[in-house]
Structures are given as structure tokens and as C-alpha cells.
């Protein structure tokens, strides 16, 4: 692992991008690493495009500023590709993990991974008020694509945060995403 990896999540308010960043950081801390997770907290509301950030490092992290040049970008909603410049600031050779069946038209020197997170969430019953909740699914894909944290650590965090049946569905969905994520 690089000394410091910076990750940006794109989602819509209510999809769980902030929680995804928090779970990722918590998992890294449980692995003995150093980590940070924070939202870009604006006047956000359900459905509006949002971003959240995480830093993971083998050394203590001193900075508390926002991330401008991420190593990894995770996009939770396939419709965002038309609305937001998701590769903005992404380092050359950086990784993009998309909730999409096929490459959503990303060009440039990036490694792009696709996973049908919406489909998995629907099949595994991760639906709240009619909305598929894809955050843990995307973490499964991120784990497989980058090895940044293990699926076991993610599962441990999910189990500590949610009631047993909810945790189980999330962990199942996460594993299924890890199996089906592919370069695209």
C-alpha cells in the first residue's frame, strides 16, 4: 500500500456516501492503519449530488483539509456521470469504481472498474423508501478492486453498526459486489 491514499465518494443525498466513507475509515483503523473520513457538508438534501472523503495511511495523518487530488474515486450513482465531473483532480493512473454495468464514458489515464451495484442492492433487499442503498455494495467492489481494506474488516464494521438482519444483507451484497466487479 502507498503511504497515503486519498479517496473521494460521489453520491446523492440519502444514498449513504458519507456512511461509506465512515465505514471505510473505521475498517482501516481496525486493521491498525491510520484513517480519516469526512463529508463535504453543504446545504445537501435527499437526491442532490454529494461528496464525501477518506484518507488511509500507514502513518499518522496530520492534515484536516479537503482532498483536491484523490487517488481513488467511487461513484455511487450512474446518473451522476452526466451531472458531475467525477474525474476532477483524480491523479493520472488513478482508480475509478463506478456503479454502472459498462464504462460510463470515462476517458483518460485511469483504471475504471464497473459493478452493477443498483442491481445487487435490489436483489439483496437493500431498499429504503423505494431507493436502492448501494454504499456497502460499492465498498465491496472498492475492496476487491484496490485491496485498500479487507472484506472481513468491512464486515466487522457493518456488524458493529447495524442490527443483525440488516448487517447480514449488507455483507451478502458486499461480497456479491466483490465477486462481480470488473474492469471496464
Amino acid at each position: 500500500m502507498e503511504d497515503l491514499l486519498e479517496i473521494r465518494f460521489h453520491g446523492r443525498g440519502g444514498q449513504g456516501a458519507v456512511t461509506a466513507a465512515n465505514i471505510l475509515a473505521d475498517a482501516a483503523v481496525r486493521e491498525g492503519k491510520y484513517a480519516q473520513a469526512f463529508p463535504h457538508f453543504g446545504a445537501e438534501r435527499r437526491g442532490a449530488p454529494v461528496v464525501a472523503f477518506a484518507r488511509i495511511s500507514t502513518k499518522p495523518i496530520e492534515v484536516h483539509s479537503r482532498i483536491e487530488r484523490p487517488d481513488i474515486v467511487v461513484v455511487l450513482d450512474s446518473m451522476l456521470f452526466e451531472l458531475v465531473d467525477v474525474t476532477s483532480g483524480l491523479k493520472r493512473g488513478g482508480i475509478l469504481v463506478a456503479n454502472s454495468k459498462r464504462n460510463p464514458g470515462i476517458e483518460g489515464d485511469y483504471k475504471v472498474y464497473c459493478v452493477d451495484a443498483t442491481g445487487i442492492a435490489m436483489r439483496k433487499g437493500l431498499v429504503v423508501s423505494g431507493w436502492p442503498v448501494v454504499n456497502t455494495v460499492m465498498l465491496g467492489a472498492l475492496s476487491k478492486a484496490t485491496g485498500i481494506v479487507s472484506l472481513d474488516s468491512l464486515a466487522e464494521v457493518i456488524s458493529s453498526r447495524f442490527p443483525e438482519d440488516v448487517a447480514k444483507r449488507n455483507i451478502d451484497a458486499m461480497k456479491s459486489a466483490a465477486e462481480s466487479v470488473h474492469t471496464c
Binding site: Q36, A37, E62
Partner: protein
């Protein structure tokens, strides 16, 4: 403490600074909590409400109708002898303002967390230190933390200091709203809060008691008012000593050491950057980069804002010739407009050190390492020209000079 303290067993967890506050409040065993929701403070109260509801804390939690009422409620509870807690930000702290003076004048050991936020108008929910700096003359001891770990430790220390019979003043623990309040990071907290409770034994003080009636905060005519206020001056002086003693105890028990001002690479520094809160981490990173380019630069973090650590700062500034103070608040119309820069000025003047006041990060305008490097370059240009401006440098603002 007479007996030597044993290091307690701790566990490593990921928390944001607001939740770190809630865990510290739980561990000191408070009796009464009152607060009113305001961004970015709200998640402290959400966590405390959860802890009270599930029995982790045995406390009265009062949902009040405003921040003025929140502080008034804990003033009453503290006067009756309870250990109390409240928290707020921004406009909430402004609405508390008159009660801030009452709390300190009545010598009540109240502890308050302040995740800092910009002030209206226009409305900004984002971070700067305008709210905190407006409380400068309220006679509250004020600590500014830089990490979630320090936030947890500072809340514990706040009770140790506030309740010390030599002090009996309220304490604010401030830190960056959002940039820290909502940032998850690793910290160590004790596995068993018993050790923390031993640090804050229940001590006698004068309280409202029907068997021994007293009146507090009564009208005081010109023959005595000044003496009462002078006692607050002395209490604030005593607080410096008690902060030092309690820092030593915390170091023994928790293994973490805090100074009123902390130096970073100051040994051979000629130029120093002084700041506070979460921004210090970014300044440290920038210092490393600038040092690689050959400038002997260091950094100073102000942790203890009130009482201001003049002696310790003098000591740290001994070998420098220039200090750059980065403030995230504006004292409008002042000679130099950075509140902390103003405080550093008299110390620097005695030592013949040049002071540059820089304003940055207002309303959470992003400040990165490259901004710190830009600020240092600008200061070096002034020094080359032999000019020390008697005003602040406004960094990163459109249309600024």
C-alpha cells in the same frame, strides 16, 4: 496528586470529534446536560441523547427552547451542585453571550464544547473561529484542540480544571466545526471509565443549599463589585498553574502530553508560523516542504487561548526573528485584525520579533499546504523590501490586497 497514577488500559477506536466529546462526557459521569441543536454541534447532543436513553449515562438531559436557556439551565444546575455539560456553535454561542458572563461571574465549573463555525450574516454553516473569538473577554478558560484525541482528553481536563477549588471557572473546549467535528479519525479511549472518574473526584464547593442558604450573583454596589471581578483575574491566573498540573496527570494516566503552546521544528527556526485548531496539521506539512527548500522555519500551535500562555510563548519564540500568525477570525477595524495576532504582538514587541498577521480560512475557504507556502513567500517579499505592514494580510480572498 500525591499517589502516582497508573497508566490506564485503552482501546483504539474511530470517532469524529463530536462523538469524542460525547464519550468524554460519559466517562466523567455528568449529572445534567442541556443543549439546543445547531449545526455543526448537533451530533454531540444526538450521541449524548442516545447514551442517556440506553442507560450509558445516568444524567438529566434537558431539551430547551434556545441556547440562552441551555446555558441558563446548566447555570442553575451547576449552582445547585450538579456536574453539568452543554455545547453549541456560532449563533448559538452568540445567543448565550450574556449568560457566559453570568456563568463565570458566579464561578460555576461548567464545561462546554464549541465546534466552531462562522457567524451570520450571510448565513454560513461552515467553519471559522469568529464565534469563539467573540467570547474572548467572558472569563471562560478556553482550550483549542487539534485532533479528536485531544478533544476527548481536553474535555476530561476541562472538568479537572474547572472544579479545582483554586479555579472555579467555566471551560470551553473548541475545535474546527466540520473539519474536525465531522471527521472520523483514530483515537484511544479508556476501556473502563473508572480511571477517568478518579481524575475528577466530587469536591465540595459553595452551592445552593436550603440548609445553608446563600445568594449568588446578587446586585453588588461600587464598594465591592471591583473586588469580585479581581477574584476572577486571580482565578484565571491560578488556572495556568492548574492546567499545567492536570496536563502532567493526564500524561501519566493516558500517556498523552499537552502544552499550552506546542512547537514543531522550532529548535533552529528563524521564522515561525503560529496557528490553532485543525489547521496546525496542514501547517506542519507545509513546514516540512519549506524546510526541504532550505528555509529554517518552524510552527507553533496555540492550545490554551485563555489564560493566554505569555511565558511559554516567550520561551518558544526566543530564537526567531519573524512570526506569522494565521487567524481564522476577523477583528473588524482593529490595528491588526487577527485576534490571536493582536495577543502575540505585545510579546513579540518586547523581544524585537516581527509579527505578520494573516487572515485565512474564513467561512471554511480551503487552506492547503500550497496556501501556507504562498503566505510564507509573501512574508519573505515584505521582509526583502523591509516593510512590516501594520494591518493584516487577507489570504485567498477575491479583490483582497
Amino acid at each position: 496528586m500525591e499517589r502516582s497514577m497508573l497508566r490506564v488500559k485503552q482501546k483504539r477506536v474511530a470517532l469524529n470529534s463530536n462523538h469524542a466529546v460525547a464519550y468524554a462526557v460519559r466517562d466523567v459521569d455528568v449529572d445534567v446536560i442541556a443543549a439546543y441543536p445547531i449545526t455543526p454541534q448537533t451530533t454531540i447532543m444526538e450521541k449524548l441523547s442516545e447514551m442517556v436513553a440506553n442507560g450509558e449515562i445516568d444524567a438529566e438531559l434537558i431539551h430547551v427552547e434556545s441556547e440562552h436557556s441551555a446555558l441558563s439551565a446548566v447555570v442553575g444546575a451547576s449552582a445547585a451542585g450538579a456536574r453539568v455539560f452543554t455545547a453549541t456553535s456560532s449563533q448559538g454561542l452568540e445567543l448565550m453571550h450574556e449568560v457566559l458572563h453570568i456563568a463565570s461571574g458566579m464561578r460555576l465549573p461548567i464545561v462546554m464544547a464549541v465546534p466552531t463555525r462562522a457567524l451570520s450574516a450571510p448565513i454560513s454553516i461552515w467553519n471559522d473561529y469568529s464565534d469563539l473569538m467573540n467570547t474572548r473577554d467572558t472569563s471562560w478558560i478556553t482550550l483549542i484542540a487539534s485532533t479528536a484525541q485531544e478533544v476527548y482528553d481536553s474535555i476530561i481536563q476541562a472538568y479537572m480544571v474547572a472544579e479545582d477549588p483554586r479555579v472555579l471557572l467555566p471551560v470551553m473546549v473548541a475545535y474546527d466545526g466540520f473539519l474536525m467535528s465531522h471527521t472520523y479519525e483514530p483515537l484511544n479511549i479508556p476501556e473502563d471509565p473508572t480511571a477517568i472518574r478518579e481524575l475528577v473526584p466530587r469536591r465540595d464547593r459553595i452551592t445552593l443549599d436550603i440548609d445553608k442558604p446563600v445568594t449568588m450573583g446578587t446586585i453588588t454596589d461600587p464598594r465591592w463589585y471591583y473586588e469580585i471581578k479581581y477574584q476572577q483575574v486571580k482565578a484565571m491566573q491560578n488556572a495556568s498553574l492548574v492546567l499545567k498540573e492536570t496536563s502532567k496527570t493526564l500524561h501519566e494516566v493516558l500517556g498523552r502530553k499537552y502544552e499550552p503552546v506546542e512547537g514543531y521544528k522550532m529548535d533552529d527556526a528563524e521564522v515561525a508560523i503560529l496557528t490553532y485548531g485543525g489547521l496546525f496539521g496542514t501547517v506542519q506539512e507545509a513546514v516540512d516542504i519549506i524546510r526541504d527548500k532550505g528555509l529554517d522555519i518552524g510552527a507553533i500551535r496555540l492550545r490554551q487561548w485563555r489564560p493566554f500562555p505569555s511565558e511559554e510563548l516567550t520561551h518558544l519564540m526566543h530564537d526567531i526573528d519573524t512570526i506569522i500568525v494565521i487567524d481564522r477570525a476577523i477583528s473588524y477595524g482593529a490595528s491588526i485584525q487577527g485576534p490571536v495576532a493582536l495577543e502575540v504582538y505585545p510579546i513579540a514587541a518586547r523581544m524585537g520579533v516581527h509579527v505578520f498577521s494573516v487572515i485565512a480560512g474564513i467561512g471554511q475557504r480551503t487552506v492547503l499546504e500550497k496556501d501556507i507556502m504562498g503566505i510564507v513567500n509573501k512574508v519573505l517579499d515584505y521582509l526583502d523590501q523591509g516593510v512590516i505592514p501594520l494591518r493584516s494580510i487577507y489570504w485567498g480572498v477575491r479583490g483582497g490586497e
